[in-house]
Symmetry: C2
Subunit: 188 residues, 2 copies
């Protein structure tokens, strides 16, 4: 009988995250990741382009989810309502892996290179949201501004969700941040 | 009589900007910049840490201006009003050098490394605004959210101001974007 083992990709990702956490991203080599996973470097490179991709491979799927949700939002939804539905879909996706998200955030916070990469990713998400809104007929600068503001809400909500003990669902923070945004803009 | 010449720093900056525009940031060396300016590499390094700093040396002054303006805003100002005063102070500062801003933006748009650096800078500005708001007694998450949203407005306004022909003052776009933000959040 063959002993069950997680797939190679999953084992490599687990080994990488453990090593990044223990000794830092910069000081971890692909050779060490492969060794920890009991696999070869060659197998690593069949699954990931480089050691950074272990942390960012989900970005494409996240972007597609945001775009699909904005485009599929009810015709009656305002730009911010459509963007909010997208953030909530992302919140549901993240909700399934809070432990991974926390671990990932600590690794990223410890490396300037990774922080830069993360900011680039967030900027692409803002732009993807704006493009999806334009497909719905939303004009600029409203489309661009809504994309940026939605990502600001996402960032704040995500930070709170990974920082607070026992935070419940990420979407609670998304909805709270939206309420706060209304408060901030209405107060003037 | 001594012929008037701009200071070494100004000459180096002009030479660098010209070369970045002509042949790209990546392909320009400090040796070329110094040669174009009629100065030595040693003089370059007395004024700038590296060739990237020519494009980013104003960031510190900008950050100080934003922080000072938020802290000095009238006690009655809401968080967003205080942040808006800061953006308008920045708009006045930029207004004096639109040509430089346009040239700089083209150079940055052409280089991934510089785009990453620019995003890091914007993230620091958002955090600096949030800290200044906290000094005024604004609590989180309002402080963090206002910082992020203000920088989103700044980004959109700046992009429009450098892209549109004959745009007038940058602060017109700042005020317009604020109005749009109110429209976006109120529409729900």
């Amino acid at each position: 009988m063959v002993r069950w083992e997680p797939d190679s990709r999953g084992r490599l990702a687990q080994a990488a995250m453990a090593l990044y956490g223990e000794q830092g991203f910069d000081r971890t080599t692909v050779a060490e990741i492969a060794e920890r996973a009991g696999l070869t470097e060659r197998t690593f490179f069949r699954h990931f382009t480089d050691k950074r991709e272990v942390l960012f491979w989900g970005a494409q799927a996240l972007q597609e989810l945001l775009v699909k949700t904005v485009i599929g939002a009810p015709a009656s939804a305002t730009p911010l309502e459509a963007a909010t539905l997208a953030l909530e879909a992302a919140g549901d996706l993240f909700g399934q892996r809070r432990e991974f998200s926390i671990q990932r955030q600590h690794i990223i916070d410890a490396s300037t290179e990774l922080q830069e990469r993360e900011l680039i990713k967030l900027a692409s998400l803002a732009e993807a949201l704006a493009s999806a809104l334009r497909e719905r007929g939303v004009k600029d600068p409203t489309a661009g501004l809504t994309g940026e503001v939605a990502i600001a809400i996402f960032k704040i909500s995500f930070d709170r969700w990974v920082s607070e003990p026992d935070p419940g669902e990420m979407n609670t923070f998304v909805r709270e941040s939206l309420e706060q945004l209304r408060g901030i803009t209405a107060a003037q």
